[in-house]
Symmetry: C2
Subunit: 405 residues, 2 copies
């Protein structure tokens, strides 16, 4: 059995479950670190395991451009290419391609629109060298078969939140058609590399309740192994995410794992989606902000530091802050990561100050371990029936921290 619900919380919709793949099992709910280009930036596979990662992501768009799926296919798939022997998931490439179409890159700076959608797929230009490429459902699935992740995603159109309901409905019809095509293409070859690949469908519908409900019903009817909730807002606008989840989650059958794509910017976001019964989520934020020196800390640690910090981002410090120059303590005294158990804030501050490569690794290890440990604690709390209390405790602590600043 691919997914099994093990335990349901009584006070929230949180649940414990287990996903079984040929590369190992995953205890849910789980945060999934992102390894965009077949590497979790700055970490070795040993370290990815050491911090407690049960599954990691890679991005179809990036790997299609470089080093290309045929090369990875010849190596027997991503696991062998990057020497990660645990479960993996690839996205369909849709999110990145449609971001190109919006004329904005990941960091939000404007550029010429690099993608053109038609009814059968999307033409786009590589952000690296401007070369022309095309994704259709069949192509996206073929690439993902070659990449060989344990879980792959249907090709969908990620509609901007600013889309009118008319456009969003048109896009949703394409997404539903493409979902069926993705599933059909997948069912022709589910174990190219000698192990089973599973496929998830993706619910879209932007911020329109009727479309989201329609999409949920449609996607859940098609026979996917799991159900994802996609869209521009998911993870980036937690108020909207919360509202969308309140519409769609009650309609998703409990025998399927549920995956919010792009959630995990802030520690509190993890509680939000877990309380809705979400089982899986991923986000580049913990690793990306780590490389800028932004590090998560637990409520107690933040409380002890906040008066000496300039920012009021709750549960986060920036280690570049001069306040840490001479600080002999670990980043978060309650953290069990290799960075916190070995190095001082002063040393990590020095590494950032001196633009040293080790800084990126130590910061990444901390932020990822922070989230993965938080998820371990969340799973334990669900088991013990104390998840609702844990959620309120963190939320209250964070709120107090913001208002007191």
């Amino acid at each position: 059995m691919f997914f099994k619900e093990l335990h349901k919380d009584t006070k929230t919709n949180a649940r414990l479950g287990i996903i079984s793949t040929d590369h190992g099992t995953i205890e849910t709910p789980i945060f999934m670190p992102v390894g965009t280009q077949a590497t979790v930036k700055s970490l070795s596979p040993d370290e990815i395991k050491q911090i407690g990662s049960q599954i990691i992501l890679a991005n179809t768009y990036h790997l299609h451009l470089r080093p290309q799926e045929d090369l990875i296919d010849r190596f027997g798939g991503l696991h062998k290419f990057m020497k990660w022997d645990g479960p993996m998931l690839t996205d369909s490439g849709g999110f990145q391609v449609f971001s190109l179409g919006k004329g904005f890159n990941e960091e939000g700076s404007e550029h010429e629109s690099l993608a053109m959608i038609d009814e059968e797929g999307v033409n786009f230009k590589s952000h690296i060298d401007g070369s022309n490429h095309r994704f259709t459902p069949e192509i996206a699935i073929d690439i993902q078969h070659k990449l060989g992740a344990d879980i792959i995603m249907a090709f969908d159109e990620c509609t901007p939140d600013t889309a009118t309901e008319v456009y969003a409905k048109e896009a949703l019809e394409r997404t539903h058609r493409w979902a069926k095509q993705s599933l059909d293409a997948h069912n022709k070859e589910t174990n190219r590399h000698g192990y089973r690949q599973y496929i998830f469908g993706i619910i879209q519908g932007a911020k329109h309740k009727d479309l989201r409900i329609e999409s949920t019903k449609e996607i859940c009817s098609l026979g996917f192994d799991g159900i994802a909730i996609g869209g521009e807002s998911i993870g980036y606008n937690m108020e909207a995410t919360n509202e969308i989840l309140s519409w769609v989650m009650p309609l998703i059958p409990s025998d399927k794992p549920r995956y919010t794509m792009g959630v995990g910017y802030h520690p509190l976001d993890l509680f939000t989606v877990v309380a809705h019964g979400v089982d899986m989520f991923d986000c580049v934020a913990p690793t990306r902000i780590a490389r800028n020196g932004a590090l998560y800390v637990r409520p107690k640690t933040y409380n002890a530091l906040k008066d000496s910090l300039e920012s009021n981002a709750p549960l986060r410090i920036n280690i570049r802050n001069a306040r840490f120059k001479d600080d002999t303590g670990p980043i978060d005294p309650e953290c069990d990561c290799q960075t916190c158990t070995t190095f001082t804030r002063a040393y990590v501050h020095h590494l950032f100050d001196a633009n040293e490569l080790l800084a990126f690794r130590l910061a990444t290890i901390h932020n990822l371990r922070f989230f993965l440990k938080q998820m371990e604690d969340i799973r334990e709390a669900i088991k013990e029936g104390t998840f609702a209390e844990m959620k309120v405790e963190w939320e209250d602590a964070a709120k107090k921290l913001v208002t007191s600043n």
Copy 2:
């Protein structure tokens, strides 16, 4: 006893020895990895140990500017600050400061002269923020006491090779005066952090035989714990290095360790200095070129590859070369490093191609382990009486490789 000669080669002047410090012993001859800013770029202390480093360097000039010696002093010295518990060595800052004075930076690009020498020391501007600083022998020793390396260096003037004999002689007189002042300053406090620090004097004299001989006699007469051979040519011009060593090495007493500063650009350079009886050497090349994708390989590996490479740098490949894009082999099949025993050339090529941080680490691990393993093999060969043969074998292989290209 700080240094003990254990065995002398009969066919060359190579020798085996042991250096004992409060942070552990060092089997000589040894290559010393460079950790300029209190970090061997991209590596964790665990990895530095794993690759077989017996001692590492740090740079007084860089640490004086950032994070400054007083901060490191408050942490109990460099070992505790960077969490490296093995032996360490700091240079005196002279080499970097006089490089600033030359009006060229490390990469050879021109800039305004940032240093002014006088009889008592040197005034210089920080390359980071232009702030004013001064080094004298007493200041350089005080900084090195605070940094707390096991082996520290006298403050000297590193004279350019282009200096006239008149200027070189003047500079040498300063260097000799500064050597005595350095030793006096050091003898006032040899264990600031609760363990013994040892001090080496530095022979200068540019390319002038009479000055080199004079300097050797003078420096060896002063009671230093070890003797270094410095100068612009050392390590960067191996022909000149060879000649200078032939003048000075016979004059250095055998009970002192001998250290050529800046040697270790190419695998063959290690044989050259070891054959002269040099015990210690360091160079930033293996780590710096690694970050550009230039990786050392043994004669057999290079021979198998050379026809498909564009460059004719013997015993070195550039992993960025498209030839490695699809290559399933390790960088060097004869290498026992973590990179070679885990990853393929294709994966390392991909990481460089995609500008991924892990590339720098994997390349650094390989190049450093290559040198450290070569030194292990050299020590074994000296012990077995086969060092001369090993040297000729590598040199012949490299020569053949160049001419056949």
